[in-house]
Amino acid sequence: MALTETHDTILKLDDVTKVYSGIVAVKHASLELKRGAVNVLVGENGAGKSTLMRMIAGVEKPSLGRILLDGKEVEFNSPADAQKHGIGMVFQELNLFGNLSVAENIFATREIIRGLRGIDHKAQIAKANIFLDKLDAGISAETMVEDLPIGQQQLVEIAKAISLDTRILILDEPTSALSAAEVDILFKVINELKAQGVAIVYISHRLEELMRIGDYITVLRDGQITGQAMVRDIDTKWIVRSMIGSDAKDFAKSLDHKLGAEAFRAEDVCLPRRTGGLAVDHLSISVKAGEVLGIYGLMGAGRSEFFECVIGQHPHSTGKIFVAGEEVVARDTSTRIRKGLALIPEDRQREGLVQVLSIASNLTLASLEKFVKFGFHIAGDREKSAIAESIRSLSIKAPNPDFDVTSMSGGNQQKVVIGKALMTNPKVLLMDEPSRGIDVGAKADVFRTMRKLAGEGLAILFSTSDLEEVMALSDRIAVMSNGRITTILDRADATEELIVRAASEGHKSAEQKSIRETA
């Protein structure tokens, strides 16, 4: 390795592989974490960063390979095991108890006990306040966690990790919910910890941040390490190149077809966040019939929330929605579906499928009224032929439509969700991360279907956090960040770098705004 060895290695992953049922999440990865340095890890969603870190933190055990701590082989059976060895992790999804106070959260499982008199709440609060002050969090340790905005909750999680006296601190996208000022404080703390010799692992999508805080960088793609370097030797172009690679995946080629009239328009859509601020911030966009609009954005950019506003899942949202030039006034999902909108939700299991029902029942769930005779009777033959037609046109591999929907693979389940949406004869199709959690072959099928539908005159909006996907599939690309559309590009003008930069734009301008306000 061509790295200059100024820091010594504290932990080494030696040729580790992690296999989940059928999916290889990490393939023969070797990684060294340096003491007293910030070890940065980047890669697209699903590249295997989190899996790698979960193995270090003891949440998962590697299927193959060894973990060496200070040169000695170790085996972590639980997060508590890893903690004993001084490894702390701040997860992307927060692991806090909302119904307990900040101090109780920080000292969970290692409460300060005064013999038989139970927990010493005063001492816990006093100690917790010390850690919180270090972070300049402005949080009182007595507050209930559920009363804090999400950014401050993140700080509590970080305070908890620091309080463990960790030697290795893993931060998985710690800044995704933080404001610019909070990020600065976090970086100050990281620098302090670094000076104390703590090894920091920093996972993030925001390239500017990585360049600012990182010392060593490792890039992952499809479970493999594709690049390792000192941060000072490289630039963002290098990162993007290593993240994406050069081998093209199988994408449906776009067919040349004429775009029709405007099919969908959103004007000034806003959705307040429960913890303050706007999840969707005055968003306006328009899509033509036959057009595929890709919405790229990082986690928490507000893509799913925007789609949910459009389909009528958020009664508090404001703004106007037009389908084929006509305003959709009704705010409930049933009417909006009837007006020609359809959503394929991101979380197939939680929002897309009814697991206890059969493949057939799931397909017709949203459009039962189409098959009704005499006002109440579901005509079995009409329903059956529609189901058969849908299975054929989407090439769903269903041995028998009466089987449980869960008996199929993820890709086929996704096709069922798509089939369900198409049965309602939509004019506008919203697809939230349509390729998430499905295998390569099914992905290609889904992409082909999207292209075909666009060719038939459907307006398609799809969201993704896969750069390659958004570049290959879209006629136009909108980049969302922090609830806003930061840029809209024609495919011809779009480059990976432009998109990646725009994806963190929303936070930057918020930063500038706050600077302007303080000035």
């Binding site: 999902t333 009837r338 009814v354 206890v356 029942s361 769930l365 008996s407």
Partner: protein
């Protein structure tokens, strides 16, 4: 329905599949077991008179259990049915005996058909109150229906000051006679209440399979969020199931008053628990999404035959309770085991397919 698919679609005769088929048919097996057991050990068990008497007992619970089945499939629970039975019985009895006092010297009387209709509407309205509490005010079903349990029972007691409305024969000149037909009349040899049960059960089974709202009931219970996202009006579905449950309870109230030719305000006490037991025994999953009307009816028969048979054998009522409890627990344990086995078999089939 489920048994049929199991035997057809699992051609491989490995132990798992056979066991699975047996487990799926468990309610049938239980029914045959209790019938066989009591026909040997209880004297006169298989006599026509006894079978008809038992069916009448079972019918009462079966009505409630059907309403309960739909409610449980949506993931809810309805504790108020027993009280609705009591209140509706009092409404029917009061209307026949006293009519409605119009305050200015006149009293309005209704004929039996009208009385029944009004009573049914009362049952549906209480169900609607349950539904509104649960959908609009977001009260947990357990609590909402616990509340209406007390309220309805209270009103039943208030309506007569805790007294029985006796002797509901009615008066010829007011055209209020004939109430007894529902409880003791017969059509082609079968009690009227059994005929009503057959009609309502067929209708309910039809709704579950061939009417959109039936499919939607299962969808709401299986995954409420996905149902909402698919444009199903979840609130409307929930209103429907609680109103149907109230409707079923009202039928039971009328039938019991008619059988006894009297209404007592404490009628129907703890009936809700028997109804839940019948639904669960018939394969309805308390976590929602699964259940059939046919299964529930069989479940009601198992419970009914069990209690009547034990009485005929002269088993003490204390032991009866113990046995009933054990049967319910075993039913749920087997249900869980079946679910697990089913998952394993599905996974194995997936693995075989590659």
């Amino acid at each position: 329905m489920t048994t049929a698919t199991a035997t057809e679609k699992v051609p491989s005769a490995d132990g798992g599949s056979i066991l699975l088929t047996l487990m799926k048919a468990r309610t049938f097996i239980a029914l045959f077991a209790v019938i066989a057991f009591f026909s040997i050990f209880a004297p006169n068990f298989l006599s026509t008179a006894n079978i008809i008497l038992m069916s009448k007992h079972v019918a009462l619970n079966a009505f409630l259990a059907m309403g309960m089945t739909f409610v449980i499939i949506t993931g809810g629970i309805d504790l108020s049915v027993g009280s609705i039975v009591g209140l509706c019985g009092m409404v029917a009895g009061g209307l026949i005996l006293n009519g409605i006092d119009l305050q200015f010297g006149y009293t309005m009387y209704f004929n039996v058909v009208e009385v029944c209709l009004i009573t049914l509407v009362v049952g549906i309205l209480i169900g609607a109150v349950n539904g509104l509490l649960i959908t609009k005010l977001n009260v947990a079903p357990f609590i909402a229906t616990l509340g209406t349990l007390y309220v309805a029972r209270g009103f039943a007691l208030l309506s007569s000051d805790g007294q029985t409305f006796p002797n509901l024969v009615g008066k010829e000149e007011l055209a209020t006679t004939g109430f007894g037909f529902l409880g003791s009349g017969r059509i082609i040899g079968l009690p009227v209440s059994i005929w009503i049960l057959i009609v309502v059960a067929l209708a309910a089974a039809y709704v579950a399979k061939y009417v959109p709202i039936g499919r939607q009931i299962f969808a709401v219970g299986g995954n409420e969020r996905a149902a909402r996202m698919s444009g199903i009006r979840v609130d409307r579905v929930k209103m429907f199931v609680y109103m149907f449950s109230g409707f079923c309870a009202a039928i039971v109230g009328i039938v019991i008053s008619s059988e006894l030719m009297a209404s007592h305000p404490a009628t129907g006490n703890s009936f809700e628990l028997n109804a839940i037991a019948a639904a669960v025994l018939g394969g309805t999953s308390m976590s929602g999404g699964r259940g059939t009307i046919g299964g529930t009816i069989i479940g009601a028969f198992v419970i009914g035959i069990l209690s009547d048979g034990l009485v005929m054998m002269g088993v003490s009522s204390f032991w009866q309770m113990v046995i009933k409890g054990i049967v319910i627990i075993v039913a749920v344990v087997v249900d869980q085991a079946q679910r697990r086995l089913q998952q394993q078999v599905t996974l194995m089939q997936l693995a075989k397919k590659g």
